[in-house]
Symmetry: C2
Subunit: 197 residues, 2 copies
DNA sequence: AAACCCATGTAATAGGTTACATGATTTG
DNA sequence: CAAATCATGTAACCTATTACATGGGTTT
């Protein structure tokens, strides 16, 4: 089942019913929920049409000066379908981590590249963590009725990212250890041909 | 870029070049790398054709008694493209966690369902963790030259799953706290209409 | 003989991204 | 005025899943 409609309904309906444009929805996804969700424009605009057509949201062109903009508001029907979706058991997305896959297939000759990949991931994770922490602080200062729910999701981001960061460093250490062990004992083939000491 | 070809090449090439059938590849994916990867048959068989056609793998029908079976072995060309892929910077898969999305959109009326979703996730994570731990023990007893790489990926699974499990319990506690706070103070609207004490 | 697993495969479809087109408006 | 940003949209493509079809072998 398609999830995009529900992200849109959720953003239009929670915390309080607030009309937004497609552009604003996209921006909200890329900022406030970016640490666990993503959508492309090629998905958002067609779905906005769809939801409009079936009466889950209601479009109203903003007139007057300034840029043209189509604001969408959630309807009673949309609220109902959002509530129904909230009750449905969430799908477990298929997991696919290309970095881990590469590590799984790793061998000594790949170590330099693997180290590079791990360092890239570390940089990215640090950025995500920083963003989550900033968000957390912001929410904690100006609390609303929905803060608790937002904080739960931020804590997921924070602790998962911290753990991942620790794992990256640990793996980096393991890899350089393997590499330096190899330098001392250049070829396993050579070594196994020597008598055990 | 399509990742399936490289999973297949990886499984045929590492740890040692070992010919396998499509069925065996599928099973390997569903067991040994299931905690960070997945593939469907509708993907595996066509890609096997593709790789055969471009000379990255080589098919050999197993003859004789027993079930019919097509064994594929990696070629020099396949090895080369696997090595090239290993060096390429891994993509950061777009993250989409439906449970977290639902929590983000949560409100008091959704709490019972959210608790249920969290408990389901806990059960699943526990199963994954158990499988990872069993795998880890197995690898640690019978070490090979590739154990280190496999252990790195297992540690990712283990620590991430443990963290997630902790987060689930924490969130469950937060939610029941909100619910019981509400029972004592049924309507926020009513309360805010009372004078501050 | 029935049921189940091994084994290979395909067609339909979903779901989504990329990349571009278009144009208005604000800002430096 | 140029560049950036706001704003909406679409067409082409890719990847992958689902669900089924087929048939032989093995177990109970």
């Amino acid at each position: 089942m398609q999830k995009t409609p529900f992200v849109i309904l959720g953003l239009l309906g929670r915390p309080r019913r607030q009309a937004r444009s497609g552009y604003e929805i996209k921006k909200a996804i890329d900022t406030v929920i970016s640490h666990f969700w993503s959508e492309s424009n090629g998905q958002i605009y067609p779905v906005l049409r769809q939801l409009s057509a079936d009466g889950s949201i209601h479009a109203k062109a903003k007139k007057g000066k300034g840029r043209r903009k189509i604001l969408y508001a959630i309807t009673a029907k949309g609220e109902a379908s959002l509530r129904a979706w909230m009750k449905a058991s969430p799908e477990t997305g298929r997991l696919r981590d290309e970095l881990i896959l590469k590590l799984f297939f790793g061998s000594e000759r790949d170590i330099p590249a693997l180290i590079c990949h791990l360092e890239e991931r570390r940089a990215r994770e640090k950025a995500v963590l920083g963003q989550c922490l900033r968000w957390q602080k912001e929410i904690e200062t100006q609390r609303t009725s929905h803060s608790a729910y937002h904080l739960i999701t931020l804590r997921a981001g924070i602790s998962l990212t911290e753990t991942s960061l620790r794992w990256v460093d640990e793996s980096l250490a393991t890899l350089s250890q393997i590499r330096s062990a190899k330098r001392r004992r250049p070829s396993p083939a050579l070594r196994s041909s020597l008598p055990n000491s």
